[in-house]
């Protein structure tokens, strides 16, 4: 098979998206349109969509998590599970691609060496040779002003002809041509661990590098799929939705104020946790391993938006709070700082959202440390928390 162009997905993605929508009102129309699309593709009317996946201050956890996805799995996608797919090609992915960087410092460089150089693919995308492409970003982006001034870097993703491929520069360059930009994982979305206080490298998420009001060539904002890492199924579902959007079959996914798809991140961990009932009953685990609500052991579920308890992590296996470990809020912009950290210390109750802390059912009030005042303060507190979030956003927003 041709090595330089990896066949990645996608009818399987379309199927996944259609199946995901199957219970909605749009189902019939979507299936009809999808059928028409596949027909068009088979007739050869569709040009390929390229995927360029770059990694900044990343741990590759999202890439590994992507391998956890099933129905379709990455393998299904790679081998073209469904015939007649609109061709999608993964042109650049540091962890998967066969090529590597090749730069001859002395003498002439032969054509094979030049063609094998991974950096040349970035150059191709930059010059328009891979249009249209979707840019996927994993890892945060450090501020390079200071290192550059000293002749160095915090994050270089390649080198050729004495030119350093700074992550920050490559991102801005490629984003200006990309049909869509998707930030995968909490580092790429919000800065994640590297932006944890005191943020030694000035690490930011993609939407803070490009600007929160930034729009792609297709008019889409940066789409955030946070999680540390984001489960493979969340990644694939978001990309599938986006492909249907790019093809005009679906409106853009509805996003929350942090650019997260609402169909994934619309509910909190607490809302979807089977142990949540114990919260209402005032029954709390006092030791790790006990089967009750873990609020007193540090669980941040009430203020964290994440579908983990509904989707699982690998083929439905793996759930944080269901299994007995406290939610640490890894899908949230503040991760890994307060109020999510300290992870194993109880969330100050004044930060509880009103609907959790000031319940209609009187029992739950007793549940949280039995304080009658909590309900009174909680509404204001939650409002404070949300306001603070917005504030933080506008401070860092854009350039």
């Amino acid at each position: 098979m041709e090595l330089t162009r990896r066949k990645f997905l996608t009818t399987s993605l379309i199927y996944a998206a259609v199946l995901a929508l199957a219970r909605t009102a749009e189902a019939d129309a979507a299936i009809l349109k999808a059928s028409e699309l596949v027909k068009k593709i088979i007739e050869g009317q569709e040009s390929p969509v390229h995927l360029v996946w770059i990694q900044g201050q990343a741990c590759s956890g999202d890439t590994i998590a992507l391998l956890n996805a099933v129905e379709p799995s990455l393998v299904d996608v790679l081998i073209g599970q469904v015939q007649g797919v609109p061709p999608v090609e993964l042109n650049y992915h540091p962890t998967v691609m066969p090529q590597w960087g090749v730069d001859h410092l002395e003498g002439p460089e032969g054509p094979t060496a030049k063609a094998w150089d991974a950096n040349s693919i970035i150059d191709q995308a930059s010059s328009g040779a891979l249009d249209p492409f979707v840019l996927i970003v994993e890892g945060s982006i450090p501020a390079e002003d200071e290192p550059k001034a000293a002749g160095g870097y915090y994050c270089s993703i390649g080198e050729r002809d004495e030119h350093i491929y700074y992550m920050e520069d490559v991102l801005k360059d490629l984003a200006s041509r990309a049909a869509a930009v998707v930030a995968i994982g909490t580092c790429a979305t919000f800065g994640g661990i590297p932006h944890g206080a005191p943020n030694p490298t000035g690490a930011r998420g993609v939407y803070d590098v490009l600007g929160r009001g930034w729009k792609s060539a297709l008019g889409l904002p940066v789409i955030n799929v946070p999680g540390c890492p984001a489960a493979g199924d969340w990644q694939v579902k978001t990309l599938a939705h986006l492909l249907l959007t790019v093809k005009g079959l679906l409106p853009p996914p509805e996003l929350d104020e942090e650019h997260r798809p609402v169909f994934l991140y619309g509910e909190t961990v607490h809302d979807t946790c089977s142990r949540g009932a114990y919260f209402g009953l005032g029954q709390f685990s006092k030791k790790y391993g006990e089967p009750l609500c873990m609020f007193a052991l540090g669980c941040k579920g009430p203020i964290v938006h994440c579908p983990m308890n509904k989707t699982g992590f690998v083929e439905g296996v793996g759930m944080c709070t269901e299994y007995g470990s406290p939610c640490i809020g890894c899908t949230e912009p503040d991760f890994p700082d307060a109020p999510l950290a300290p992870f194993l210390k109880e969330l100050p109750t004044f930060l509880l959202p009103a609907e959790v802390a000031a319940p209609e059912a009187p029992k739950a009030e007793a549940a949280i440390a039995g304080s009658g005042l909590i309900g009174l303060f909680a509404g204001a507190a939650a409002g404070y928390y949300l306001a603070r979030r917005k504030e933080g956003g506008s401070e860092e927003g854009g350039e």
């Binding site: 066949k7 391998l67 094998w116 950096n119 690998v314």
Partner: protein
């Protein structure tokens, strides 16, 4: 001499940002100089300062999304010690199983998806045409197990994305991460490791599921070893033994704790270290210097002469027992980043330079970490010997024997169901009387480690069932947040020795230092002018590319050295003799399945 100078950046199919600079004598076709370096900085050790100590367990595993569990485990060990909490035995068993589950995916992803492509038809036929011709005539010893008659067939199955083995192993690797997620709530980045044990509700329901999953993954080991024994054999047949060769100087901290012996104390570290499934050890020129984990810890040093950091002055003169502590020991280290222009004669890497200095003799060693270090130490130390109905490991006199049981599973072809025994021997490659290791043996060791971990996981599953049966179902012990304490967590990531060092003051993290196996391996030149292990290995590696003239070289041999960095003792030029895989009586599929 004709000279080719290459910068290979990015090095793909590894985790993270790394590059290597090599100078090649194109007349002799050999690498004459090398600098390996890391090209990204995040500042974990700075971010950790002032935080609640347990947070380090959650934050540190995010250093690496490929191998998070050993980080969680090392941080948990450091926290156990510093926060004075000895986990109940079932908690140690669950940590062990989570760690093993990760290795059972991590070694294969390296062997089949990351380093594997260099040994696939796609790349070999492109850059090593003579090898490709030889592969067509090379008959595979283990064809009955893995199903490929010739090396060319096997290499085609190794092709990225399209090859059968590439695809099939991806599926089994996912099953291993599913096991890790069952135990750890999710993977990558498990959520269950806490000081004093695990945050996981664990009952017989979960136990039976884990048993079934481990059994299938033990069958996976048979595929991993049989495939790589044949590739190793082929590589020796084409004369690749001096690629990536260096003297057998290695470090292993050992890993997988004994649930009864491990008590989280510094005082008893030597004793519980010796009880590990993989024992700790330092190997110098092929001989075991020590297997005392406390002595190994005290000998760790970190230097930054050629790294983008400033030096520091130490804070502590002694360890918790009053033993002398060097200012360059990680308990004393401070991370002071200083980005600057790269200079080969000056600073050129974001990676630091760890070295091991024997606290008894004062001798310094350039040691490498990895599966070869683990299994080599185990073979010399002879401390691991057990038999259970499911698995057995026997070690000593330079030999490791691993027995795996019948593994019937719908996930596995029936050829992988048979009971098998694997025998690993210290390689006998040597130069001027000094034992060497090489690229080939690093790959072989990784495959045998898979079987070793699987045998250990089967033992852990039995122990888990035993504790549940005995009613010993506690998984957590209360921890403190003391005014002052020091902790250390030493274990093994897939890639080798991993160390975490914590100092707690006023109940918060005062200092936290991490030395990863890759830091040992890709370390730059040390203060004495000695190259790090990857650099040493690259130097004198032959250039085998035969697809064009030197202007077209892509550095595939340097890539192989770098990517396959997990050691095994050097083997001599001899061919694989066929006595390493012992297949027991074939299993006949029966209606009783």
């Amino acid at each position: 001499m004709g000279k080719v100078e290459l910068i290979l950046d990015p090095i793909t199919r590894i985790e993270g940002h790394m590059a290597i600079h090599v100078v090649i004598d194109s007349d002799r076709r050999v690498i004459t100089d090398a600098h390996s370096y890391a090209t990204m900085f995040r500042g974990f050790e700075i971010i950790l300062r002032g935080r609640d100590p347990p947070d380090s367990i959650f934050i540190n595993q995010r250093i690496c999304g490929v191998c998070p569990v050993p980080h969680a485990y090392a941080a948990a060990l450091a926290n156990d010690m510093a926060l004075k909490a000895s986990p109940p035995p079932l908690a140690t068993v669950l940590r062990n199983l989570t760690d093993a589950a990760e290795i059972l995916y991590d070694h294969p992803i390296h062997l089949f998806q990351l380093a594997g492509p260099e040994y696939s038809a796609a790349i070999v036929s492109k850059f090593n045409r003579a090898w490709w011709e030889a592969a067509k005539d090379f008959s595979c010893e283990n064809r009955d197990i893995h199903g490929y008659s010739t090396m060319a067939d096997l290499m085609a199955a190794m092709n990225p994305i399209a090859g059968e083995l590439y695809l099939y192993t991806l599926k089994l690797e996912r099953d291993a991460r599913k096991l890790a997620s069952l135990l750890g709530a999710k993977h990558p980045h498990v959520n269950t490791f806490v000081p004093g044990g695990v945050a996981r509700t664990w009952t017989a329901n979960e136990a039976t599921k884990a048993l079934s999953m481990v059994m299938a993954l033990a069958g996976f080991s048979k595929l991993v070893v049989s495939v790589w024994e044949d590739i190793v054999s082929f590589l020796y047949s084409v004369g690749y033994e001096w690629a990536g060769a260096r003297p057998a100087n290695m470090i292993a901290y050992g890993t997988i704790d004994d649930p009864e012996a491990y008590d989280a104390t510094y005082e008893n570290m030597t004793e519980w270290g010796d009880k590990r499934l993989f024992p700790p050890g330092i190997v110098a020129n092929g001989s075991l210097v020590t297997h005392d984990l406390k002595r190994i810890n005290l000998g760790v040093r970190e230097f930054v002469e050629h790294s983008f950091y400033e030096d520091w002055t130490g804070e502590f003169d002694t360890d918790p027992e009053g033993n002398s502590l060097d200012s360059h020991h990680p308990w004393n280290k401070e991370t002071k980043p200083a980005a600057q222009a790269r200079k080969w004669e000056g600073k050129y890497s974001w990676g630091t330079c760890p070295r091991w200095v024997d606290p008894v003799t004062g001798s310094k060693y350039v040691v490498e970490a990895g599966p070869i270090s683990r299994i080599y130490v185990s073979a010399l130390a002879g401390l691991t010997n057990f038999d259970t109905p499911y698995s057995a490991i026997h070690t000593g006199n330079g030999v490791v024997r691993v027995s795996l049981p019948i593994t019937r599973s719908e996930l596995l072809p029936t050829a992988l169901w048979d009971e098998m025994e694997f025998v690993w021997r210290v390689p006998d490659l040597s130069k001027d009387g000094v034992p060497y290791i090489n690229t080939i043996e690093r790959l072989r060791a990784r495959a045998y480690n898979h079987a070793y971990y699987a045998a250990g996981a089967l033992k852990d599953v039995l122990e888990m069932i035993h504790y549940i049966a005995e009613g010993k179902t506690e998984v957590w012990s209360e921890f403190e947040r003391p005014e002052f304490s020091m902790g250390v967590g030493l274990n093994e990531a897939a890639r080798g020795a991993l160390g975490h060092w914590i100092v707690v003051r006023n109940g918060k993290i005062h200092r936290y230092q991490i030395i990863t196996p890759t830091a040992w391996n890709i370390s730059p030149i040390d203060p004495d002018g000695e190259h790090g292990p990857v650099e040493q290995s690259a130097i004198d590696t032959p250039v085998t590319e035969d697809h064009g003239d030197s202007s077209d070289w892509v550095g595939v041999d340097a890539m192989r050295v770098v990517r396959s960095y997990d050691p095994c003792l050097a083997c001599t030029v001899h061919m694989f003799v066929g006595d390493r895989l012992l297949r027991k009586a074939p299993v006949t599929p029966t209606p009783g399945l």
